[in-house]
């Protein structure tokens, strides 16, 4: 079943358009990666989905029209975003960052329970819960960003270039976490990446975006074998 159905999505900044009639769909409990080079329009697409920029075209999410919803409302419907560069608030403690992720949750007992749950999953965050997020390593900050997004109990997790600035071994760890969220927590994921090699090993399906246009799609293994992709993203 399709959870997110995007048709003819266009968006841009002022007069500059960055996305042109993109059409893509993500099934429930699917792990999809959107591959693209710098400036291909990956972040723009994610921002259009989270509602932090204006866009035209249809975005259906579980039957409801996302275009009519404010960012806050989309979050309440279960769409959470992990921004590029992690976006952890460095002047906030780890714990406060998690609380911030639960801004839309009014039940404080639920917030406490969820924190414990994610601290259990990411013990390194528990150790550092009262430290400033700015003192964490890049990998720990990315984990914090993931845990923070999970605090709103999303169904669909959008993640913008998790590999940015991380060592390959850490990136692998983050992707393993994503896969685990898909397998054991029933989460649906849309991850935007430049790192084709690694992300395709974990994802189910992939789309490729170039200069604002979706140029190809298919199962992760098919895309990985694609000659054009090999040339553009794997440097062969």
């Amino acid at each position: 079943m399709t959870l997110l159905d995007i048709r003819n999505l266009s968006a841009g900044y002022g007069k500059v358009r960055a996305l042109f009639d993109c059409t893509l769909g993500i099934g429930e409990n699917e792990f999809v990666v959107l591959l693209g080079a710098n400036g291909a329009g990956k972040t723009t697409l994610l921002r259009a989905l989270s509602g932090t920029i204006r866009s035209s075209g249809e975005i259906a999410y579980g039957g409801s029209d996302l275009q009519k919803m404010a960012p806050e409302r989309r979050l309440q419907c279960g769409i959470a975003q992990i921004p590029q560069g992690r976006g952890t608030f460095t002047e906030f403690t780890v714990d406060e960052n998690l609380t911030l992720g639960a801004t839309i949750v009014s039940d404080s007992r639920r917030v406490r329970r969820d924190k414990e749950r994610w601290y259990d999953r990411f013990p390194r965050l528990r150790e550092r819960r009262s430290q400033l997020a700015g003192n964490l390593s890049g990998g720990e900050q990315q984990m914090l960003a993931v845990a923070r997004a999970l605090m709103s109990r999303p169904k669909l997790l959008l993640c913008d270039e998790p590999s940015l600035g991380l060592a390959p071994v850490i990136t692998r760890e983050i992707f393993a976490i994503f896969k685990e969220l898909r397998d054991t927590d029933g989460m649906t994921l849309l991850v935007v990446e430049q790192n084709a090699d690694l992300s395709l090993k974990f994802a189910d399906r992939a789309y490729v975006i170039e200069a604002g246009h979706i140029v190809s799609e298919g199962s992760a293994s098919a895309i990985l074998a694609d000659e054009h992709i090999q040339k553009s993203y794997l440097g062969d």
Partner: protein, 328 residues
């Protein structure tokens, strides 16, 4: 965690000690000046919330202070309401005015917002003159002097001091509660990155307007207290530079500090007088040098400097301890 509780307790005890010692050490006139400094400190507390924690600029805090003062004066002089009973109204009316001043902040930031709010500050004194029927125009308005309770009958300055200190403590508690609640977290988050805060579900419009409303309510309360302390107000007390002076108080004291607001209030009340006492002709120059010196020495204001010094001392005496990292 324990570290920050200890520090908060130490700060409160220190504050109360100083507050209790002042009436003993100072003359009646000096105590009156300290009370006025405290009224400014309440307005600075509001500005610290808005500027230091929410990252918005407002160069109309003096105007909002003036609105509070006039609400108190009009309710007392025209309608005979007891001066203290006017204070909630002063805060409420000024909060509404602050929401109007804050509306442009939904679209504009930084310098543009500074100019727009300063425009409000520049227009205010003349508006007061134009609305002479209510405000008494140039001649201003008198406020009934506050009768001290029987046990303080001979110490009216002390009574006024206690009243302003009481209001300031209420204001400080409000700021503290706001800062460590959901609104405060949202305020700091949108200051650090409005885009990410929005993606996490922070309602930017509501958050910014809250900041303006609370900050203005405190400015209004401060103005009301100021009117009561002075017993008389006129447009002369609320000229445009007052707003700048309040910003200076906020920055010198430390704009992310509650105690810093009191330091700032005392600074803008006393230091200009002291520097003129040193040399009447060079008073402003010495004052300016003092400002420049403080900014060179302590970018985070006096409170920031104290924080840095205590952090340096505690890490030295306790080399394995983690440095304190709470917003105080």
């Amino acid at each position: 965690m324990r570290n920050s509780v200890v520090r908060t307790a130490a700060t409160i005890v220190g504050f109360l000690l100083v507050a209790a010692l002042l009436p003993v050490c100072l003359s009646g006139f000096q105590l009156q000046q300290v009370s006025i400094a405290i009224s400014y400190a309440i307005a600075i507390l509001g500005l610290n919330l808005l500027m230091g924690f929410a990252g918005q600029i407002c160069l109309a805090q003096g105007t909002l202070f003036g609105i509070g003062a006039y609400v108190t004066a009009i309710l007392n002089a025209t309608y005979g309401v007891h001066p203290l009973a006017t204070l909630p109204a002063a805060a409420a009316v000024t909060a509404l005015a602050g929401l109007v001043v804050g509306l442009p902040a939904l679209r504009l930031q930084g310098l543009q917002l500074a100019i727009i709010t300063f425009g409000v500050a520049a227009a205010f004194p003349q508006l007061l003159l134009k609305l002479g029927t209510w405000t008494g125009g140039v001649s201003g308005l008198p406020i009934d002097s506050l009768e001290p309770p029987a046990f303080l009958a001979d110490y009216s300055e002390l009574w006024l001091y206690l009243v302003s200190l009481g209001c300031a403590c209420v204001a400080a508690m409000i700021v503290r509660l706001v800062l460590f609640g959901d609104v405060g977290r949202a305020l700091r988050a949108q200051r650090d990155s409005s885009q990410i805060a929005e993606a996490l579900g922070v309602n930017l419009t509501k958050t910014k307007l809250w900041a303006f409303a609370i900050s203005s309510a405190l400015a209004g309360l401060a103005g009301g207290v100021f009117a009561i302390l002075n017993g008389f107000i006129s447009p002369q007390s609320f000229l445009a530079p007052l707003s700048i002076t309040i910003v200076i108080g906020s920055i010198v004291g430390g704009s992310t500090s509650i105690v810093g607001a009191f330091v700032g209030g005392l600074f803008i009340t006393f230091v200009p007088t002291w520097t003129s006492n040193i040399n009447l002709a060079l008073g402003n120059v010495i004052y300016a040098l003092a400002l420049i010196g403080i900014m060179l020495l302590a970018r985070g204001g006096v409170a920031g400097l104290v924080d840095r010094l205590t952090a340096a001392l505690t890490t030295r005496s306790n080399p394995n301890g983690k440095a304190g990292q709470s917003a105080n």
